[in-house]
Amino acid sequence: MKNKQLNIQQASEYFKDGMTVMVGGFLAVGTPERLVHAIVDRGVKDITLITNDTAVPDKGVGQLIVNRQVKKVVASHIGTNPETGKQMIAKELEVELVPQGTLAERIRCGGSGLGGVLTLTGVGTIVEENKRKISVDGKIYLLEKPLHADVALIKARKADTAGNLIYDKAARNFNPIMAMAADVVIVEVDELVEVGEIVPDEVMTAGVLVDKIFCVEGC
């Protein structure tokens, strides 16, 4: 079996200027903090960041915004990080606001080989601008297109060496779908166990989706 473990230096080699990166978490709960720090440390620029929200200035992906490493953010909410709005109004940062459920579906499409989904969410609002409307059985839906990333950084409670993951409570959020939707998936875990120690029925993300494992404990 391939060895998927890496250290923070090896992880940071995946971070390139101009990359599109998905980062798990909801208000920084379930965000892989060390991997985000490694992006900060590496000083990577012009990032397209796909994430639920821009957290707060000193936590989660918030730091990437404050540090001006992000060119464009695709998120459902930016209100908790004033720096995001400030840069957006100054036209220094492009922000694409996406309804949260639509964001989840677009990421899932990107990981599932689907060309898009039809949703009622956003019909009659500015979210429908520049989108195709498709009528099905008398209802008008928006066609929402897939999102895919170069790298996904996700957080799990526990992995086995094959990359099978278990998440912890509300720290699950966007992590499982992002694990499907990127060329390279790197997970930050609190605990790493041998293959076979996680019961197949309890696996929340299958190891085949996970390329690299960074263990916080330095294991």
């Binding site: 909801f26 949260q100 459920g101 009659g124």
Partner: protein, 217 residues
């Protein structure tokens, strides 16, 4: 009684035993504190779980509501990812959502996610909630801080959803969105219909069965 408490107390009356309920951040979160006796609801939190406990009940930093408050989980609760969370919301598995509002109007439109040029927090899960939940309740103070009306003939802020609101609860009364327009069905104690009309831009239909606002005295 403070306006916010009145609103939360009245909105709580709308919840039925066994309902699956999503409460928005801020004022709507208070609704959980005023559930009538014998009414158990399952609170859904769009960050990925159902069976939200009380705010402050837990110290587990991975058990937070969608506003980031520590909240715990009740027995029978379940965790899931964001895709499933919105399958529940969009798919009609949430009975009631209670949301705050910047503006709402007599057509049932709601605006609660941005003020162009001023404040653009983003819609979060609100746009999914308003089209997906079986019943959409707007719980908000009747007027803006500057005294201007928030219940309008037609919203002028960017919408969260078009024709999605079922009921509006403020500290002055309860308004049902009907085919014919906005129907005032309950009025707060000590408040006159004229006062409500004066603070409301929308055309109001006054119910023939207008009663005093429930659960606030």
């Amino acid at each position: 009684m403070k306006a916010k408490e009145m609103i939360a107390r009245r909105a709580a009356v709308e919840l039925k035993d066994g309902d699956v309920v999503n409460l928005g951040i801020g004022l709507p979160t208070l609704v959980a504190n005023y559930l009538p006796k014998g009414i158990d609801v399952m609170l859904e939190s769009e960050n990925g779980f159902i069976g939200l406990g009380s705010v402050g009940e837990s110290t587990d930093s991975n058990l937070v509501n969608a506003g980031g408050q520590l909240c715990g989980i009740i027995p029978g609760g379940a965790m899931f990812d964001s895709a499933m969370s919105f399958s529940l919301i969009r798919g009609g598995h949430v009975d009631v959502t209670v949301l705050g509002g910047l503006q709402t109007d007599q057509k049932g439109n709601l605006a609660n996610w941005m003020v162009p040029g001023k404040m653009v927090p983003g819609m979060g899960g609100a746009m999914d909630l308003v089209i997906g939940a079986k019943k959409v309740i707007v719980a908000m103070e009747h007027c803006a801080k500057d005294g201007s009306a928030k219940i309008l003939k037609i919203c002028n802020l960017p919408l969260t959803g078009k024709g999605v609101v079922d009921l509006i609860v403020t500290e002055l009364g309860v308004f049902r969105v009907t085919e014919k327009g906005l129907l005032l069905t309950e009025i707060a104690p000590g408040v006159t219909v004229e006062t409500v009309k004066g603070k409301t831009e929308a055309d109001l239909i006054i119910s023939n069965n207008l009663i005093s606002m429930k659960n606030v005295s």
